[in-house]
Symmetry: C2
Subunit: 434 residues, 2 copies
């Protein structure tokens, strides 16, 4: 018992002081708890921004590791030795060729398709959640996942030597299942959609003494996404962009990028600026876009039916907060069809050499749609968030990217094929331009 109390005493820092209800403001100790006892609202981590202002500067951050942990004072962990497998500080690539094609002047891609170790932004939230899980004394970690989170939790748990049990919908893409099993966690494939998986996990969290990264550890876990805001600000030379476009699944990523920007303004690391926030959903699962378009202040859950499985959450926990941010920043929320998603994946690959998964295709297709509709001004410095790698959702583009030209290992066979290729390319090009 004394040990447990000591652990709790050590479990916060001067800046990270506890948990607070997002709705009613009730305060709690920094334990594995995510719902307010008073009003059932979601809990968030609380910081003392005066402490942060006094102790953190651009210089202290720049002197830190080349990973999300350079922002440790803004993250809800107490340890001096977080789990650091190189997560974060992914490239912010200026997308000259894509910008030209879309008619924008300054477009950047924040490329988490190459995040470490498992090639999605989930490595950020999991690195924070598992570091916190260890601090709180959990020896088994778990999650409800649409795939990327499963990969990340299994991999980082393996590295940290934590036991791991992962829950996924049974119909996930093959690459995401295999990319989880390879780390040898216990993998539960649930016959149902993500929302059913999530409900089951809430029950399991109440009966097993496990740390569920996106349930009882959710307040800590979700803070990891702020680093996507911090990094963009730092990589732009300590300033904020004019407009960001990001995918919406639960809505958490979107709200945390916003929070990251606000915290940097609050602590004087960047100048205040009104950044417009626009969200991207797949038409086959667009409860947040619907709420935005219909001006509703509640989310009507839907049953997902889209190739963009990693963002197919029919009952998004932070959806209404995402709508609020889009509204108050003068952004928008838009949805795109599966066909547009595939075109978005191809467009990003062909212009920038970045192979993203369906969620990234959703973001690029939405970006295109917003520019065409005049909802992004060509002069706005725009950042599009690419959150996962295309190698994980290969079935989505199979059949849409052509075939290799098969030849004999002979010069004349090659030359005939090249002639054929030139003809094909001309045709394809015409189709693209039409």
């Amino acid at each position: 018992m004394t040990q447990a109390i000591d652990r709790l005493k050590q479990a916060s820092t001067a800046a990270f002081t506890g948990l607070k209800c997002k709705e009613c403001g009730a305060e709690y100790d920094a334990t594995a708890k995510h719902v307010c006892d008073e009003c059932f609202g979601p809990l968030e981590v609380k910081y003392d921004y005066d402490v942060l202002r006094q102790t953190v500067s651009r210089e202290t951050i720049e002197a830190g590791p080349h990973s999300i942990w350079r922002y440790k004072p803004f993250l809800p962990v107490a340890t001096e030795t977080p789990i650091d497998v190189g997560t974060g500080m992914t490239p912010l690539v200026e997308a000259h060729r894509l910008a030209r094609q879309l008619g924008l002047k300054k477009l950047y891609i924040k490329n988490d398709a190459v995040n470490m170790p498992t090639l999605s932004f989930k490595d950020r939230v999991v690195s924070v959640a598992l570091t916190r899980a260890r601090e709180l004394g959990f020896s088994t970690v778990s999650c409800a996942s649409t795939g990327n989170l499963a990969n990340s939790t299994a991999a980082i748990a393996a590295h940290a030597g934590l036991d791991c049990c992962v829950f996924i919908p049974a119909d996930l893409e093959a690459g995401k299942i295999l990319g989880t099993l390879i780390y040898n966690p216990t993998l539960m494939a649930v016959k149902g959609n993500y929302d059913q998986v999530n409900r089951l996990c809430s029950e399991v969290a109440n009966t097993q003494g496990w740390g569920f990264v996106n349930i009882n550890l959710r307040p800590y876990y979700s803070e990891g996404s702020k680093t996507l805001g911090f990094e963009v600000a730092e990589q732009l030379g300590w300033q904020l962009p004019d407009h960001v476009v990001a995918p919406l699944a639960s809505g958490s990523l979107f709200t945390k990028i916003y929070k990251g920007f606000q915290e940097f303004i609050e602590t004087g690391l960047v100048e205040a600026k009104d950044v417009r926030f626009s969200g991207a959903q797949a038409e086959g699962c667009s409860p947040i876009a619907s709420a935005y378009k219909e001006g509703r202040d509640f989310i009507a859950p839907v049953k997902p039916n889209t190739i963009a499985k990693s963002i197919a959450i029919g009952n998004p926990a932070d959806g209404i907060y995402a709508v609020d941010i889009a509204n108050k920043t003068n952004g928008t929320i838009e949805s795109v069809t599966d066909a547009e998603i595939i075109e978005g994946m191809k467009l990003l690959a062909e212009t920038e050499g970045i192979f993203t998964e369906t969620a990234g295709g959703t973001t690029i297709a939405t970006l295109k749609k917003l520019v065409e509709a005049g909802k992004i001004d060509p002069d706005e410095v725009t950042v599009a968030y690419i959150t996962g790698n295309g190698l994980k959702t290969q079935e989505a583009v199979q059949g849409y990217i052509g075939e290799p030209l098969t030849i004999e290992p002979k010069l004349d066979s090659f030359e005939r094929a090249l002639e054929r290729a030139h003809t094909l390319n001309r045709l394809e090009w015409q189709q693209v331009l039409v």
Copy 2:
């Protein structure tokens, strides 16, 4: 013509001065040329190390970009604006859990499975080759590839807006074909093995005015692999390890890591040290291991037959130089079976959370074999090079990593499955420990 001469004049730097035959020492201008006119030996890039000593320091490197281009003075390009998509500076992870399992005291994994943009070390050589190709005025780039190089050339060419034609053996892994096609290059699938692809490309290089990254641009291209040596030295705090283990395909990577270490010693960036170099091959394609074991000074070509396709080169261009380095550094060259390769992939994933492709499995299996044979001392600081990502060779492990436990979205279904999982895990664990 004046333009062409100007281009050549601009095409070297004070430190990078031209090409030189590795065999007879004949010197050449820095053009697209890879074979000596005098003796048909391979050409290498020549540097003035006095200039490097005077102009480069640990500080100048540390102040550079977080990519391979922090080592630009050691690379054969003249431009101030190389193609930089964040390639290099991949994590050097201390592998505590794998080290314990193998019985080593200090083991590091250099993790190019998360290299940018296409998740293999090839992004290093391609970034250098395409930067050089652009300097030399090529508008179409090409390569002969076992897969990773195809991904990388197609992606970085797309980013740079260069036309691209890629040649692969027709039987490559699906992920590597799709991971090339997505960037929309011309893709030629040759009915034959890599060595036949390579021979065809040599003919094509003579008839088309293309820059073949690993043929006429090979002297520049191969220099990119030195950065795997530079980064390890810098990441170890400006010192060299005791022992490195790296995979052998053409042998080039191995010789260039060695060259990287030597150049850092030569220019005073690290203290001189005898580093032992051990190479890893798949038994189904082990011409370099055979030459080493039989004490031969020539390579007897073989016909590859292994799951480790990315390193399946039956007639390796730099094989004999690799043998020479293993010999003179008191290292060794070993080969492992396909079954051992799969076990190596699983071992690395389960202990360190790193999912590598078959080439990485070859390296880990060889590392294990060498430790067990007493050829790596437990006290040696050892670095194992992981060169590619497991998502690209999913078929290799399919069927060897178990299946998810399929359950209904109900608590009792989960609890029954968990009981089953505990039984399975005990059994699996017993198998691993036996």
